[in-house]
């Protein structure tokens, strides 16, 4: 995800030598990734600049994609409007903290309220659509996403229309620790947000792992596999699907809160449009439906290309003066959609279960080899 060299700076795993370290990395890749990401800002100076903000955005998209994965991956419900919940989370964060509103309840309280509220809105969308599956659910969620976007745009008195809401204060604004204003620290050094969103991502990953093993997680998968059989096991498909809606929406809302706070604005409503939903969905599918590491890798590749690699390559092209006419044919950003499409086609052709498949899907799609 970052340019950090991998395990050289790991604390030695013991006297087992190089092979032992490799085995440890393979076994606990999650821990290793976390440590690498946690150490990176201390050794890579670029993360103190614009790159730090870009990687923060990447972490936030990982959270969003993990939320979507609850519905699409675990429960098998197609959702084409996840960005609307991302947007609702961002706008709620803004409404609860910006100076133009009387609430100004601060980052933490606003996050809690927004997450609960997005869960509630998820339930409200889920309840009337429970009997829909597949294409029909896809259309409803797509429509919901558009409705939210247009509402955010046209409800100017509340949402600021195309200008969005700003400035969203950074977390800890006004809180002083050892004489340093925490909010100021967040505003000046992107590494604060880097760590905050990394912490949130790690928390979401841990929560998702526990959910996978929980009764609820099993019930999600059972409903995806066979709704009738699941109800014959005593599982209420209604309740299970509603909980997936609520969980997905809540996690997307959390991502939205972090997003608005890290940008210090909600940006304009187009930031939460259909394209955004599709990009996140593509990332989940590319990485592997129902797979936590797959989802994170999918985001790292697709969103990473979009927000980190393409801008970097473009500025390089500009510096080298390769493209003096400014033709979009010679810019990476101009090719991004083509590259997304190609990546998806190639993955679907050669690895339909995704890059890091969940154990189950791999078994299903390669039954003939089993």
């Amino acid at each position: 995800m970052t340019s950090t060299p991998t395990n050289q700076q790991q604390p030695n795993a013991g006297a087992t030598g190089w092979a032992g370290i490799r085995a440890f990395v393979r076994e606990r890749w999650d821990l290793v990734t976390l440590v690498v990401l946690a150490v990176a800002p201390l050794v890579v100076p670029a993360l103190g600049g614009a790159l730090g903000g870009q990687v923060t955005t990447l972490f936030i998209y990982c959270i969003l994609a993990l939320g979507l994965n609850v519905m699409v991956g675990y429960t098998g419900l197609v959702h084409l409007g996840i960005a609307s919940f991302f947007g609702i989370g961002a706008y709620l964060m803004a409404i609860l903290t910006v100076p133009m509103y009387p609430f100004q309840i601060g980052f933490l309280a606003a996050t809690i309220v927004s997450v609960l509220a997005t869960a509630g809105i998820g339930l409200a969308l889920g309840a009337p659509t429970l009997r829909l599956r597949g294409d029909y659910l896809a259309i409803v969620t797509l429509g919901f996403g558009e409705v939210v976007k247009v509402t955010l745009r046209n409800l100017e008195q509340i949402t600021g229309g195309m200008k969005g809401l700003n400035p969203v204060p950074p977390p800890g604004a006004g809180v002083k620790i050892a004489g340093i204003d925490l909010g100021l620290a967040f505003a000046i050094d992107p590494r604060w947000f880097y760590y905050l969103s990394l912490l949130a991502l790690a928390g979401v990953v841990v929560a998702m792992r526990r959910l996978e093993q929980s009764r609820l997680g099993r019930a999600w998968v059972a409903v995806r596999e066979d709704e009738l059989a699941a109800s014959a096991m005593g599982i209420s498909a209604t309740r299970v699907k509603l909980s997936a809606f609520a969980m997905s929406s809540a996690v997307a809302g959390l991502a939205g809160c972090l997003y608005a706070a890290s940008l210090s604005t909600t940006a304009d409503p187009n930031a939460y449009d259909f394209n955004r939903s599709i990009m996140v969905l593509c990332a989940v599918i590319l990485g592997g439906l129902g797979s936590i590491p797959g989802t994170i890798l999918g985001v790292a590749i697709l969103v990473g290309f979009d927000t980190v690699l393409a801008p970097w390559a473009d500025s390089w092209i500009q510096q080298m003066n390769i493209n003096p006419s400014g033709s979009s044919l010679l810019s990476f950003s101009g090719w991004r959609l083509a590259i997304f499409g190609l990546a998806l086609v190639l993955v679907m052709r050669y690895r339909p279960e995704g890059l890091v498949p969940s154990r189950r899907l791999a078994a299903e799609l390669h039954e003939d080899h089993a």
Binding site: R215, R218, A219, V221, A222, E225, D226, L228, A229, A230, S231, A232, M233, G234, I235, S236, A237, T238, R360, L361, A363, E364, E367, A370
Partner: protein, 235 residues
């Protein structure tokens, strides 16, 4: 234990059950035989709440269950092993069995029950980590039956457990079904294999286009000339 009184159910304009009544005593094995489309599967699905009942009443242990959701009916002690086995193909054998005990909170005892199922069907015990979908048809049926048993039902609805299976496997499955009464589990067995079902059952019903046309003890029905003509291929 189970009383079904004059129930009607169907799909849209089609009336699949047209006033069906039957009863099952505790620990009793009751067979329901009939041709394709007679309403056998619909009858089981109406009892378990999957298909809504339009009129009539179903009582389980004296308590009306009509109108309850399927998952609520399961919790009362009515297990349903639906037609076509319906195991979870992408879950392991162990996970399938554990989902059978979804309503239970006593995990340690559930583990014991899973071990017991593996005692009944040793082949399942040797495939615990394998995906359900990779099992053979017979093994899937064993898994479906085992999964239903882990839920500790007092009444088990079995829909076509012998469908499409090799004779040896059918014999094994029926042997286990026959043993359920001894464990105090009442069974409603829907079967196309009428001969085997009637041999096993203490009582039986014949279902024809949504109505019960005959009923009696298993041996009575097996010797009834109408049953022999229509369902035992001895006409």
């Amino acid at each position: 234990m189970l009383e079904v009184e004059n129930i009607e159910a169907g799909y849209g304009p089609i009336r699949a059950l047209d006033g069906v009544s039957l009863h099952v005593a505790a620990g009793e094995l009751v067979a329901i035989i009939g041709a394709n489309g007679a309403g056998k599967t619909t009858l089981l699905m109406a009892i378990s709440g999957v298909v809504p009942i339009r009129s009539g009443q179903v009582r389980f242990e004296g308590r009306p269950v009509t109108g309850l959701a399927p998952h609520e009916i399961v919790r009362l002690g009515i297990g349903h092993s639906p037609e076509g086995r319906r195991i979870f193909p992408r879950l392991s054998v162990r996970e399938n069995l554990e989902l059978g005990g979804f309503t239970r909170s006593d995990r340690a005892e559930m583990r014991r029950d899973i071990d017991e199922v593996c005692g009944l069907f040793p082949v399942l015990g040797s495939r615990m980590g394998q995906m359900g979908g990779t099992l053979s048809g017979g093994e899937q049926q064993m898994l479906a039956l085992g999964r239903a048993l882990v839920g500790r039902p007092r009444l088990l609805l079995l829909d076509e457990p012998s469908l499409g299976l090799a004779p040896l496997v059918v014999a094994k499955i029926f042997e286990v079904i026959a043993g359920l009464s001894a464990r105090g589990i009442a069974v409603v067995l829907v079967e196309q294999n009428a001969r085997a079902a009637l041999k096993l059952a203490s009582r039986g019903y014949v279902l024809e286009t949504g109505r019960i046309t005959l009923s009696g003890s298993g041996t009575e029905l097996a010797h009834d000339h109408r049953v022999r003509d229509a369902y035992l291929g001895e006409g």
